[in-house]
Symmetry: C2
Subunit: 471 residues, 2 copies
């Protein structure tokens, strides 16, 4: 029988030990910070009912949901229904090929009622409504789990990837926004990534659209403003005209494009510009309130008011947050915002939430590119005992146990293979200490320790080695 050539589905990945250790360093750092701020972990199932998922991510999103074929009973119970349905359809339209999409759509819902998690936000909203009586509000939760999207795979875009979400639900206080910004600051400090946090507010954008008389064109306006640096003021105007914004409205945008100075200078100009828009002013006050907290609380990461952030404009209602790495050209490494009606679709109205999501894959790429993973995390086993045979094994095993009981990872090569093979094993696994115990050492009750980094070797009491390595 010809053996299969093994592979993984496109867009998915295996993670080797070295990758895992680095990924876990990122996840653990993020988790530790979340915990310090009193956030609690939850997990939801990988599969959700399609009724939970569909219609939450727009038409494009719906298409990207991986659907799970109904199992087991499917053949017996549904086979016939299915065929009848297809026959019915095909005869009623007399085999017209234009209907095939239609039929397979029908087929699809007939044979699948579950889908894979597409993000962590919708399952979280479902969780909150389903477990309402068990939850203490404000509910501060974090969730680190994979999500799946049937996107066309490409460099840096996968069909299975982890999201690290942290949200507060059930509190309108802007202190939550402040806390999330602190969390972002802490995480990237700890990861040693030089980042910039960009802050915007949906209400300011709504205000801008309102005062220039184009309240329905928030998105177009924001996207056009975003191109200012690249295409200049004239370019932005042309872009907006092309997007159907009236030329009179376009000229009203001028003061926005002229905004200069630091965050507070911008805010003070905006107050003037938006004085005719209630919602716009509300947005300015929100941003100002958040920024004022950082007069007392110092941030190490730069925090910048950026009116061009258009992220998630479809659902965010207040703050919009995005984080970029300063030293690497890559998309945002964290982002989020406030959504005033997170759980409405599941029947729980008027519950406001605010949260951000860390992009573990991009953070990994940034750290890899900058080569800033701490070297010490890569070491797995600290001590390898060379295996010289049965008698030596029995002598060494209790010593290994002592090391392990002190939480020092140690192993003995399982076979008495050639020395060279055992040393190569130590080399490949980056093991810093190799212990050699032969006839001579056993008699003298000593061990020979080879330091694999310095290359030096010395024969010592096990107790002395233990003291040295426990430090």
């Amino acid at each position: 029988m010809a053996a299969q050539k093994p592979s993984v589905p496109k867009g998915t990945r295996d993670f080797s030990p070295v990758e895992m250790v680095k990924r876990n360093f990122i996840f653990d750092t993020i988790k530790d910070v979340f915990k310090r701020y009193g956030f609690l972990p939850i997990e939801t199932p990988s599969m959700e009912n399609l009724s939970t998922l569909l219609g939450k991510y727009g038409d494009e999103g719906d298409k990207l949901i991986f659907r799970i074929l109904d199992s087991g009973d499917f053949i017996k119970e549904k086979g016939e229904i299915l065929i009848n349905r297809v026959l019915e359809k095909s005869s009623s339209v007399s085999g017209s090929s234009s209907c095939s999409g239609d039929i397979s759509d029908g087929l699809r819902s007939e044979i699948s009622e579950k889908g894979l998690r597409y993000d962590l936000t919708v399952p979280f909203a479902r969780f909150v409504v389903q477990h309402l009586n068990e939850i203490t509000f404000p509910f501060k939760r974090y969730q680190i789990q994979p999500v799946w999207r049937a996107d066309r795979p490409q460099k840096g875009r996968y069909r299975e990837f982890y999201q690290c979400d942290v949200d507060v639900i059930g509190s309108n206080s802007l202190l939550n926004e402040v806390e999330l910004i602190q969390i972002i600051d802490d995480v990237f400090q700890k990861l040693n990534i030089n980042a910039v946090i960009k802050l915007n507010n949906r209400k300011i954008l709504a205000g801008i659209a309102e005062i220039i008389g184009e309240p329905d064109k928030i998105m177009d306006i924001t996207i056009a403003i975003d191109k200012l640096e690249k295409i200049g003021k004239k370019g932005v105007y042309d872009e907006l005209l092309g997007r159907g914004v009236d030329s009179g409205s376009v000229s009203l945008l001028n003061p926005i494009l002229e905004l200069r100075g630091d965050n507070f200078a911008k805010l003070s100009s905006l107050k003037e510009i938006l004085k005719g828009s209630e919602i716009g002013l509300k947005g300015v006050i929100e941003v100002e309130t958040v920024l004022n907290y950082f007069n007392t609380l110092t941030l190490k990461t730069e925090l910048e008011l950026d009116l061009t952030l258009a992220r998630g404009l479809n659902y965010y209602t207040g703050a919009i947050i995005e984080v970029k790495a300063q030293d690497v050209e890559i998309g945002s490494i964290c982002g989020g915002g406030r959504y005033d009606d997170l759980t409405g679709v599941f029947g729980l109205k008027d519950v406001s939430g605010v949260g951000v999501s860390f992009g573990a894959d991009r953070i990994y790429d940034v750290m890899q590119q900058l080569d800033i993973f701490p070297k010490e995390i890569i070491t797995s086993t600290k001590v390898l005992f060379v295996n010289f045979g049965e008698k030596e094994e029995l002598y060494c095993l209790p010593l290994i146990k002592i090391l392990r009981d002190r939480d020092i990872s140690a192993e003995i090569y399982p076979d008495s293979s050639k020395m060279k093979k055992q040393m190569t094993y130590a080399d490949n696994k980056n093991i810093p200490y190799v212990i050699l115990v032969g006839e001579d050492e056993m008699q003298k009750k000593l061990i020979t320790v080879k330091n694999m980094i310095s290359g030096t070797q010395e024969t010592v009491l096990f107790e002395d080695f233990l003291k040295m390595i426990s430090q």
Copy 2:
């Protein structure tokens, strides 16, 4: 619009913060032990190609694999092919309903080429072959990930559950079996579960079947022996006769059923009984070798030779291991064994592996039933600052930051809600210290600390509180 009543698919679960903390305690304990022994983590994708999964778990297993509907392009590209195929089939058999299973089987493979991970062993074998050149053998890996089975859900059996696998691949040394037993001992010691480790060997069972002249009936014989305590010797004989074992053979089984004494007594009887079977004697020597190691290495968990272990008899070739909790009636909480040809199906012959898998869900149930989760893990936030308003907030935030920077989880209630509401929040989250800073405290540069466990309250310097809580 009527809101959806939210729910999760049957057989799947949400995990609340309290459950998560307990589950993570189990996972972290297991991981820490794995690491001490020099095992390295890997992860594989949730979905594998069906060609990787099918045919590896028997016919029953194949049926329990969750299949993923091909995505995106499916409607346009496959719709028509699909319908033509169905039409073709149905016309060629003139609508006979007996063929529907056939057709929907065909349909199924037409529209699905991926399945969800069913266990961690097959993906691991695939991983080893795919990444052969990057791996140092013997390869000691652990893997903790969910698996999915379209089983009928029932109490304690889920459609999504975690497996915690630890395996050594590429070494025949029995030292690996010894290490796995040590790992089991360490894990259950740390979890405070009183367990018994049962050890068997496929070669001994083969030897028994051989000497009684029924080499093909290993499974029947083992299952029958397993019932000895329940149904007595006569019962076992009847059972075997019923399973088609010759009555002459059955009587040859007598010495096996008469085995008494400790492990070494049993081994010495087995040596006598199996002296006519080469493979049987080999099994005895293997078990003896493993047990002999524990003359030097003490185990805290009982280790018992148990000839009735029939676990995984289809694929294990040497050691068979199973662990039971002593104080709770529940199935095995850990199990595994040696398989001599793990990667053969993917084209890599003669690579022996040995490993065990910890059943996190059952371990959880055992610990829950015995109420042995350490109380301190349940605490999330250690310090809550009551929110008395804006001015107090600004005073408290830098203090909170100091706590967090020392890795003490702290939070401030995000709104200046009524005192009662804030205290209830602290209660529900099991927060041990609540800090009150009002006008008076701010003036005197003091804080009032309420100990939520003792109910006492005192006004102190923040620095003194910090010292106390950092200990």
